[in-house]
């Protein structure tokens, strides 16, 4: 890397107001109030570039891809296949054909569980996950356990929400064939020591699947440096459309895996006696894909990668630190998840009001937060709570959003305190 490579692409300061101006929805009034959108961990809002990309595809360049020889099919195909390279550069994959388009993170994990898990794992083999996984990184392995007789092991978390690495290492043995772990906890915001996890797993011969759904919007990600064998994420949490996502897999592993879904686009030749599958990545992309969605995801990646990365990281760290400090001042509030390595999420409970009631009152103040178990019920069980309030931030979040949240919590106290 030369000195100029490390310079921010846009000069100096991260201008959050310019970022916000890219998001039409942030100008909407909600229940007559300024919108404080603090629910990006559930799904990020979309910049104009993504919205216009989808409209552009359907207005000017839409037809099915990889099929027709006509003009529109060619235009759509060019735009569609270009996204693979954008994703490759985003996560620094070694090869473009290691990028498989999926419907999202859940889809990607299920693909690995079914195509890799069913063939590479046998009865008695162990899959190691953690206590902080999202249901989408638990249930596919339970389904595989019930079908194949694999053993599912769970590494616990400390009370601050960090991964218990001693316990993790004790559970990691030569029986462990796959480690499936999140990069960032969706309920707690904990950043896992993913490079260490990959190194330790590889030392016992296990492969690693990394759930990057919450990681990729907040942490610069290099799958080769990380050591991930599989890496999955969703387009919609990265400022792109819903119904889009990516499975990255090392080519050697993907090549050895059988296809998951059969159909059009994933074959080289078909007779009733025999079908020869297409090479990567098409082997895993049966059927007409989410064309406008994938192109829109590419527009989202373009928008995202044009941000000054150091500025973005510093900005999000500032909002997280500011929000954490302001929330800590609220009487009766307990933060859930206080790991030293944390991004984007400030889960909490109040000792005098239930998260759903808090969510309803905040909503009246224009503050959008997620309330509930966040599809991470084992995390809730760890803390012996049913639910939390989970404000979460994104590139467009401001201190004003935090102030609006804290003011809303004042209304909660008026009602319930």
């Amino acid at each position: 890397m030369t000195a100029t490579d490390s310079l921010p692409r846009t000069a100096g300061v991260y201008d959050v107001e310019r970022v916000r101006a890219d998001f039409p929805i942030l100008a909407e009034k909600v229940r007559g109030k300024r919108l404080a959108f603090l629910d990006s961990a559930a799904s990020a809002q979309k910049p104009r570039a993504v919205i216009e990309s989808i409209a552009h595809t359907y207005t000017r360049e839409y037809a099915n891809v990889h099929r027709g020889v006509h003009y529109l099919s060619e235009r759509a195909t060019v735009a569609y296949v270009a996204v693979r390279g954008k994703v490759q550069r985003l996560i620094n994959a070694a090869r473009e054909d290691e990028i498989i388009f999926t419907g999202g993170t859940t889809d990607g994990i299920n693909l690995v569980a079914q195509a890799y898990g069913r063939t590479a794992l046998k009865s008695g083999d162990e899959v190691l996950i953690t206590e902080m996984e999202h249901h989408s990184n638990i249930v596919p392995w339970q389904m595989l356990r019930d079908e194949k007789g694999i053993v599912l092991r769970v590494a616990p978390i400390h009370d601050d929400g960090s991964l218990d690495m001693d316990a993790f290492q004790a559970l990691l043995t030569e029986k462990t064939r796959l480690v499936a772990v999140t990069q960032v906890s969706n309920a707690l915001g904990t950043v896992t020591p993913i490079r260490d996890i990959c190194r330790l797993a590889h030392a016992v011969g296990a492969k690693v699947l990394v759930d990057g759904a919450q990681g990729i919007p907040h942490i610069a990600t290099d799958v080769q440096d990380m050591g991930a064998d599989f890496y999955v994420f969703s387009g919609h949490k990265l400022y792109g459309p819903t119904g889009t996502g990516v499975l990255y897999g090392r080519a050697e592993l993907l090549d050895a895996m059988p296809p998951w879904r059969g159909g059009g686009d994933m074959i080289r030749s078909v007779t009733f006696e025999h079908t020869e599958y297409a090479p990567l990545p098409h082997k895993f992309e049966a059927g007409t894909p989410n064309i406008a969605g994938v192109i829109g995801m590419g527009a989202g990646i373009d928008w995202f990668t044009a941000l000054d990365r150091d500025g973005l990281d510093a900005h999000e760290a500032d909002i997280l630190a500011y929000g954490t400090a302001r929330l800590a001042e609220v009487p009766g509030l307990r933060l859930v998840g206080t790991a030293p390595e944390k991004v984007a999420v400030m889960s909490f409970v109040l000792d005098y009001a239930h998260p759903h009631d808090i969510g309803t009152i905040l909503d009246q103040e224009g503050v959008a937060v997620r309330t509930g178990h966040h599809c991470a019920q084992p995390v809730m069980q760890h803390y012996d709570i049913a639910a939390t309030v989970r404000p979460s931030i994104g590139a467009y979040s401001t201190r004003e959003d935090i102030e609006q949240l804290v003011a809303g919590l004042g209304k909660v106290r008026e009602m319930f305190g």
Partner: protein, 156 residues
């Protein structure tokens, strides 16, 4: 805050903070669990049926103000009622909180179908995401009455 006061009326806050009939009655001959997968809230209902009437009913659980108040007010209201009467009240209640039936703000006792205090929960109709909170206890009660044993109800 006037809108919110329609939802969180004093009687609801009172029942949620000091729930009536909270605990496990013994003897009981019907019980069920209620579970709202949306928020993870859970509660249990116990019923003592005698001669076709709800002699006693209680609940335990944790949840939001709406679900706790609804359970508390429900148990208060149903003591001494027959199964058919309980179902009739549930149907009226359900119609009101889902907004299928507008009972107005100054409905008489006749017009609200005998809902009484439960009318306080009518404000839920303006918060569609919260209807399941208000009906959780009722679904559990229905399961208890119908299955005559333990069952889990999922309000989805």
């Amino acid at each position: 805050m006037s809108d919110l006061r329609d939802l969180y009326q004093e009687v609801i806050l009172d029942h949620s903070k000091n729930p009536r009939n909270f605990g496990h009655i013994d003897p009981a001959n019907r019980e069920a669990k209620g579970h709202n997968p949306l928020c993870g809230d859970q509660l249990r209902i116990w019923v003592l049926m005698e001669d076709g009437r709800i002699r006693d009913v209680s609940f335990e659980g944790r949840g939001c103000a709406i679900s706790m108040a609804s359970a508390s007010m429900m148990t208060d209201m149903l003591k001494g009622r027959t199964e058919a009467e309980a179902e009739e009240i549930f149907n009226r209640f359900h119609a009101v909180v889902t907004g299928e039936q507008d009972i107005g703000d100054d409905a008489t006792e006749d017009a609200d179908g005998g809902l009484g205090k439960l009318r306080a929960l009518a404000g839920v109709r303006d918060y569609p995401m919260r209807v399941k909170c208000a009906t959780l206890a009722w679904h559990a009660l229905k399961a208890a009455l119908e299955n005559k044993g333990e069952s889990t109800v999922v309000t989805e």
